[in-house]
């Protein structure tokens, strides 16, 4: 992957000035490449990675395994894109193995998520079965550890 993308994935707020220094490019070149990535749809969004466990939120996250029947034309895509459009759905993947879609959903309460699954998801045409797993605690999300690891102190000066 382009080092520029790597740096932005780590810190999307990094200024073009600093990015230019790190990559030994001009600031204009950095801006131009970012604009190009945005235009090409390579960069889809800039978001903060939030540790929601630290917030006093009413929210529940769940992962749902969904089996669907592929259609003659379009395979899994038509059902998948219908599922993807629900606001409750955060991420959606087509999987190999014993089920077809892996759906990450969120809601305010357990009841709300349960309702979404039974009323919206399970009833979609083509959906054969669902298995819902509720998430209890987040240790790491999008490559970021959610609790600060205690580290051994290092010397401040060493040879």
């Amino acid at each position: 992957m382009d080092e520029l993308l790597r740096l932005l994935r780590k810190n999307a707020l990094e200024s073009p000035h600093n990015l230019a220094r790190m990559l030994r490019l001009t600031e204009d070149e950095v801006r131009r490449r970012i604009a190009q990535y945005e235009q090409d749809g390579v960069i889809r969004a800039y978001q903060a990675v939030v540790n929601e466990d630290r917030l006093d939120l009413d929210r529940v996250r769940a992962v749902i395994e969904v089996k669907i029947s592929p259609e003659r034309e379009g395979g899994f895509d038509r059902v998948a894109s219908r599922v993807a459009r629900f606001d409750e759905v955060e991420s959606l993947f087509l999987m190999s193995g014993t089920y077809d879609l892996l759906v990450f959903v969120r809601g305010a309460t357990l009841k709300e998520v349960a309702w979404f699954v039974s009323e919206k998801l399970a009833t979609l045409e083509g959906v054969l079965s669902t298995a819902t797993h509720f998430m209890l605690k987040t240790y790491k999300d999008q490559g970021v550890l959610m609790h600060v690891e205690e580290r051994d102190e290092k010397l401040k000066v060493s040879p």
């Binding site: 790190m22 401040k156 000066v157 040879p159």
Partner: protein, 393 residues
């Protein structure tokens, strides 16, 4: 002074003459301060990769708590032989030509003690790592600094070597990439140095502990030059490449006679390197390529950033080809490098090692380490910029 003479002084005279380490002096000052951003470390800020730590945990779990063979675990020596062949060229026999040591630190001491007789002279390029001159002095040898210059990218030139060599010169110590300057060895320089060593019949001790942290330059080792394998003690280790400083493990490769001589000292003074560390080292060589590459890529960006930043604020420096240090000039402000470092620490709470800690050739420079979190580097640069602006008004 008088009072100390009246009391018995048990310390050996050749040791008394070795000055205290400038790094230790500076460490004691820095450790009394709070909220200091330190660019004065000489080790990676990464923690050793998890799979390497896990191998150490697993070794302990299985009860690896004993001595190993004096030379080190055979499995590790074999892995080292394969690694050295692949990365540097020469083949070494794991049974007679490779010794696992307690870091490159011990290996340096062994190498020097194995070959230096009292009064022998040892050349080393300066500014350089703090251990070389003392280790030679401990062996009753005479360390002889060969200066290198910033304008020349701190390259080691034949002329400079010729100016210091005498009939008593026995060995030449090399450290490329260099701590503290980040200089790397160009192929033509390696060839020239090798010719010099052969013509003068010198032993070469080459400390290539930063070799894996070579950035865009070609990685060149003097040991791969014609006629060098037989007269070279090749040293390397795990501290920098895999962020394993606390494991204390390194190695020396040399022809059988030299390895046996080092082994003699090692066997009676150290017995062996810690077994858990040796297990971790095997894992590093077996599965550590990706971590090494990842850390190198990370250092490279930080290097670029720090190099650009220092030049922007008026502390000129070349782009280091290796290691993780930038060595900017602080001259022309009426301050010694130590005064500059102390005032920077006092006024802006940024710690950089004064160049004079690396010998008189380092005067006029400071060493800034970029194995430091990028956010800390940013803040340090902002503070240093303020400091430099204040100095020039």
């Amino acid at each position: 002074m008088k009072s100390s003479r009246s009391r018995p002084d048990f310390v050996a005279p050749h040791l008394r003459d070795v000055p205290r380490s400038g790094i230790r002096d500076f460490f004691e000052i820095v450790s009394q301060r709070e909220d200091v951003i330190s660019l004065s470390i000489g080790e990676p800020d990464f923690v050793a990769p998890w799979h390497i730590r896990e191998a150490a945990v697993f070794a302990l779990d299985r009860g690896a708590t004993s001595y190993t063979a004096n030379l080190g675990l055979r499995e590790l020596r074999q892995a080292v032989a394969a690694y050295v062949r692949r990365s540097f060229g020469p083949s070494y026999d794991p049974d007679t030509e490779i010794l696992i040591t307690v870091g490159v630190s011990e290996a340096l001491d062994l190498a020097v003690r194995a070959v230096i007789a009292p009064g022998d002279e040892v050349l080393y390029h300066a500014p350089c790592y703090v251990s070389y001159a003392p280790v030679v002095a401990f062996a009753h040898g005479r360390p002889v600094a060969v200066p290198t210059r910033a304008e020349d990218g701190f390259r080691l030139r034949r002329e400079a070597l010729e100016a210091q060599v005498t009939p008593r010169t026995r060995a030449l110590m090399l450290n490329f990439p260099t701590n503290p300057t980040g200089a790397v060895l160009a192929r033509e320089d390696a060839e020239e140095i090798a010719r010099f060593a052969v013509e003068r019949d010198l032993l070469v001790i080459t400390d290539e502990i930063y070799s894996e942290l070579t950035y865009e330059a070609e990685r060149v080792s003097v040991v791969a030059m014609p006629g060098m394998r037989e007269r070279t003690i090749f040293l390397n280790g795990f501290s920098k490449t895999w962020a394993m400083t606390g494991f204390r493990v390194g190695f020396a490769c040399a022809p059988p006679g030299l390895t046996e001589a080092m082994m003699k000292i090692h066997q009676y003074t150290m017995l062996c390197a810690p077994v858990v560390s040796q297990r971790a080292a095997i894992e590093a060589l077996r599965g550590g390529d990706r971590d090494r590459d990842h850390m190198r890529a990370e250092y490279e960006k930080r290097r670029n950033f720090l190099h650009a930043g220092l030049n922007e604020i008026g502390l000129p420096c070349g782009l280091p080809g290796g290691a993780f240090y930038v060595f900017p000039s602080v001259a022309g402000r009426g301050l010694t490098s130590k005064e500059f470092s102390l005032r920077l620490l006092d006024e802006e709470k940024v710690a950089c090692v004064p160049g004079s800690a690396f010998g008189s050739a380092g005067e006029g420079f400071i060493r800034c380490c970029f194995a430091t979190d990028i956010e800390d580097i940013k803040e340090a640069l902002a503070r240093m910029g303020r400091f430099v602006r204040r100095l020039s008004t």
